[in-house]
Every structure is written in C-alpha cells, then in structure tokens.
Assembly symmetry: C2
Homo-oligomer: 340 residues x 2
C-alpha cells in the first residue's frame, strides 16, 4: 500500500523542509526538473490528435503555424468528433481569426456566419461539459471508470488499485481535495491535462487555463458545433469552466495568436474585414505535412510530482519566499518537441 | 453593528439563491453592475499618481501611450519614491522595451545596463515586499494602521470601527480568510487594489495579477531600484508575490505591450537591437500633457461588492453554472476615464 504514498505526499513533505539561504541554492528550478526527467516519463502525442493551423504569413512574410492538441476521453468527445470532421472537410480553409480581446481570448471561424457546415455533425448536450465518472461513493462503479479515463494514472498503480480499491480511491480523493481553489473542491493534472473535480457529485472537467481551446456558442441550450473556436490568451477565465466545452490546447505557436493586434469592436472583434487574419488551412496532424512529433511529461510521473511541487514552492536561487501552493493553471503540463 | 454585515455576507447570501433559467436572465452582468454604479462610488486617481509612457509609434505611425497608476501606501513606497525621481529626471527617455515573454511579462529599462541612475535613490530592504500592519492579534495596534492604510474602507464604517473595534476586526478577518486560494490565507480587493494577507503574522501584500507592474531585480539581497520595470501579460504569476516589489498597474494601453512580438532569446529577451521598442518619454501624470482623468470603483462600495459577487457567480444569460468563487485576479478593479 505504501507504493503510491510518495506521489500523494511529496508536496507536503517537501514544503516542510527547512529552507536556509544556502540550501535554497541547491534546489533545482521547475525547468531543470523537467529537463532531467527520464525518457520513459514522457508520453508521445499521436499525430492524429493534433490540429495544424496555417495562418497567412505575417507582415514580413514569415509563416505562422499554430499546433493544437485535441483533448482525449473522457472529455468533450462529441465536439472533438465534430472538429475531426470539420478538419477532414477542410472546412476552416479560407476562414479567419475575427476576435482578439486583451487578457481574454482569440477566436476564429467563419466571420460571415453563412458557410455551410459539413453533414453529420453531432448536437452535443450540455451534460457533456463535464465527465460524470461515478455517483456518490460507488467505488465499484468509480474505479474502473476513473482508471479507464486516465490510463497513465492506472499504469502506475495497477496492483494497488486492484488489491485495495477502497483505500486507493480514498487516497486519491484526499489528494484531489487537498488542491482546493475558489472554483473547485479538487484540482489536479490528470492524464496530461488540467482537471477539476467534485467528488460529491462524481464529475470532472477540464479547466480554462492559458492556451486551452474551447468551443464558441450562442445562448443555452446551444452548445456550439466546434466550428467556432477560441483560445485563452490571458488570466485563466475559470468562470467559463462547465459553461463551455474545452476541446484542446495550443502546444506550439500560441505567440502567433497572443501577439495579434487587439480588436477595437465590442468583445475585441475586429471591426474591419482587412484586420482579420486569414486561415490558410487546418488539418489533422496525420494529414498535414512536416509535423514534428510532440510529447508531454506524464502527469503521473515522479518528475511531474517534483515539478508541480517546485512550481508551488519555488526555492531556486531567485526566490526568497515559497508561495506554499499554486493554482492548477500555474502548473502547466510540460510539452516539447520529441528529439529525433 | 449590523451596518457592515451586508458587505461581508453578500457573496454567501447570493450564492445560496436558487437559480432557475428564467431567473438567471434577470441577473445583471458584472459590466452592467459597474455601469450602474453611483457617481459617488467612484474614486478619482490623482494625476500625480500616474506614469505616462510614450512608446515609439507603431509600424503604421500610430502613437502608443501606456498609462500606469502607482500603488499607494502602505505598499512599496520606497520603490515608488525612486520611480517618481526617475520620471522627474526623465531617466527612461531613450530606453526601450527589451523583453516580451509569452504568458508572463513585458519588461523595459536600459538595455545597455550602463546608464547612470539619478542620485538619491533609496536602497529598499526586502522586508518592504510586504506591509506589516500588526503583530499577532494586537487590535489596538492593528485597527488604526489598517484603517490608515485603507482609508476608503475606513470611511465606510467609522462608527462601527470606533464603537466595537474587536468585533469589527474579527468580522474583517473572517471575511478576508473566507477568500482563500493556494497562495494566501486571505485575499481581498482593498483600497482599490488586489491584496493578499496573512492575519497570523499581520502582513499584507499586493498580488501579481494581469497588468500589475513590478520592479526587476538581481538575486537577493538585491531588491531593484525601480529603473527596470515589468508588467504581467499572462496568467497571474502569483509565485512572484512577496518576492518582488509591485509598484503599480497599467490602467490604459496595455495592448501596446501585450501584443508586441515575443522575444526569441532566453526569457523572452529580444535578441537584436532593432527588435526593441523605443521609449520616447516617461512622465508623471502632472507633468505630461493631455492626460485624461481616471477613476476606479471604490472596492468598499456596495456596487463593488455586487460586482465581485457577480464575477464569482455568473448568472447572466450566457452562463449555466455559477463557479461559486473567483480568484482575486479574476475580479479586476474597474477603472475608467472620468466623464467630462
């Protein structure tokens, strides 16, 4: 049973260490912990889970490519399915970025709102804004669904979870609920993604952190198709959690969006057609050319636990006072191009 | 004694209201609450508390002006004093923006690091990263200092505070500590600024929210002079709280900084001299020409309390699920140009 304790307890243990000025200099920075992670702690991202968006070149003729990773099950798969269809139909080719609101979002899609959508897109119900993994404390129901939802996590503790699922579940719950913030009783990076959860009602949902990609929609009961997308370019607008579908995150090239001129219309919409940034093409990663391979640091690895602890308690040379905590959006999952 | 309870209790009361789809449509959005605030709930910002920075015009010849409000006592006044001297000496004229790191900061100052500083700048000790308002629960000591530090707050409850300072302090403490987040036991907008506090040790400090302006420094014990400044252009880097001096916030023109091309060097520094953005001048607001008057919504007003509650529990038409809370950086203090 002790096998999983180091993971759950690491933050608390490290936070209790006495920190003198000299000792502080020996603590690695979060980036150094990531750089030292073992090869087997990195998880490859399948090319078919990437969206490759080519914007028109910038004013100096430089290409602008934005790469998005689509979110895996158990989250938002109805919209993700639509997005795969839209990309396969080359639907976004010739559309544009139409809205850049400072400290909020960049939004793209069909500015005319008249372009016909491909057939067969799903109408996804609002209930899908969250993943319902269990009801009450029905462990028999919960554990298999949780481990199926977050297979990396399951890989790490198969015997533990099988031998004593109740204790495993309680430890997991305690861990999740120890990461409280104003938006959720529990927050944790799970399966490579920032996730909030409510154990009382058994729901989990991805969180609106910087660079996360969501689905624009009209007023309820509309949930959006996935044709109109946005990404976060400011402080995490967590009030959108559970109110809009999150379908992925920008993993490369966000600067091509975040540094665009802000729109001067209401909500940051561009007022003139010529301000819009043309989208040349959007392709799934397995259809696009020259797409590098990417990998993320497993959120269930020892190195990730050390990295998350270091983000919450900076003790590297620059820092005098470790914060004692960090919100989920201040512990971004490390993602990098895979070395050849 | 009841007079101040509505303020402290408003968030909890409203959060408990049943929200049906129909009722939701009758709730005003945060922006509507701000627009409806009474004239006397707005507080004028003195021109002498503004820094007016003129950047070189953009590629289309458009002027780029950034206006910063300096933070008032009890925070960071040693550095703020230095900044007033640097502005009076026109020290920043001819310097530049040298660093733009995505989802982090824009930084400006003397790229050559050789420009002589004006005489008489203070060397501010690290202890000034926080304001120490009281020790333990010494109310006699605390209350006058707290009310002196946050005069708007004091104005609202003078009789209450005088009649029963102990009950007033306990209510205040309870209120502050009800706004917990991973970075601080207590968070509250106070005196017009986002503030975190620790009642156990009696310290309060401003928080690293979007657009806040801080003082670049070298390794401890260096605390920076104020000549090298940065502003936050991404998710709140709250781990910097108590580790760097915060001296103000950008109140107009942040888009001229946040939309700059990202630097490609380490930490987002521009690698080539021609990438740097020239700073034509920086003046105090009372020395600069054509500076509009600004005002902020008193953080101790009824409208601010309603606004903060609405930010934490969105019930306007777009939203299905109120978050139930909001972190301090997701409740930005409303600031606007004063109508003539």
């Amino acid at each position: 049973m002790k096998r999983y304790l180091p993971l759950f307890a690491s933050a608390a243990i490290c936070a209790a260490l006495p920190v003198s000025a000299q000792e502080a200099k020996t603590y690695p920075a979060p980036s150094e912990i990531v750089a030292a992670a073992k090869a087997e702690e990195w998880v490859a991202i399948a090319p078919s889970d990437l969206l490759v968006m080519e914007l028109a070149p910038d004013s100096k003729g430089k290409p602008r490519r934005v790469i998005i990773q689509l979110i895996p099950a158990p989250f938002s798969q109805g919209w993700v399915g639509n997005i795969r269809k839209l990309a396969a139909a080359h639907w976004w080719d010739g559309t544009s970025i139409n809205r850049v609101q400072d400290n909020y979002v960049v939004q793209w899609g069909d500015a005319t709102e008249k372009k016909a959508l491909p057939e067969g897109l799903a109408v996804v119900p609002e209930s899908e804004y969250v993943a319902k993994l269990f009801k009450g404390l029905n462990l028999k129901n919960f554990l298999p669904r949780f481990l199926a939802a977050f297979p990396d996590f399951a890989k790490k503790f198969p015997e533990v979870a099988e031998k004593d699922p109740k204790e495993f579940e309680m430890a997991l719950r305690k861990d999740l609920e120890s990461h409280v913030d104003p938006y959720a009783k529990g927050n944790r990076n799970l399966g490579g993604w920032p996730v909030a959860g409510d154990y009382e009602v058994g729901t989990f949902w991805p969180t609106h952190c910087y660079a996360m990609v969501g689905v624009g929609r009209n007023l309820s009961p509309d949930t959006g198709t996935g044709a109109e997308l946005y990404t976060v370019i400011g402080h995490a607008p967590r009030h959108l959690d559970r109110n809009i579908a999150l379908v992925g995150r920008v993993i490369e090239g966000i600067e091509h969006m975040s540094s665009l001129p802000r729109g001067t219309g209401a909500l940051g919409f561009y007022e003139k057609e010529e301000e819009r940034v043309p989208i040349l093409s959007v392709r799934l990663g397995n259809e696009a050319k020259d797409v590098p391979a990417f990998e993320y640091l497993s959120t269930d690895s020892d190195s990730f636990a050390a990295y998350a602890d270091a983000r919450a308690n900076r003790r590297d040379a620059f820092f005098n006072v470790p914060a004692g905590g960090a919100d989920i959006c201040n512990i971004p999952v490390p993602i990098r191009r895979k070395a050849n």
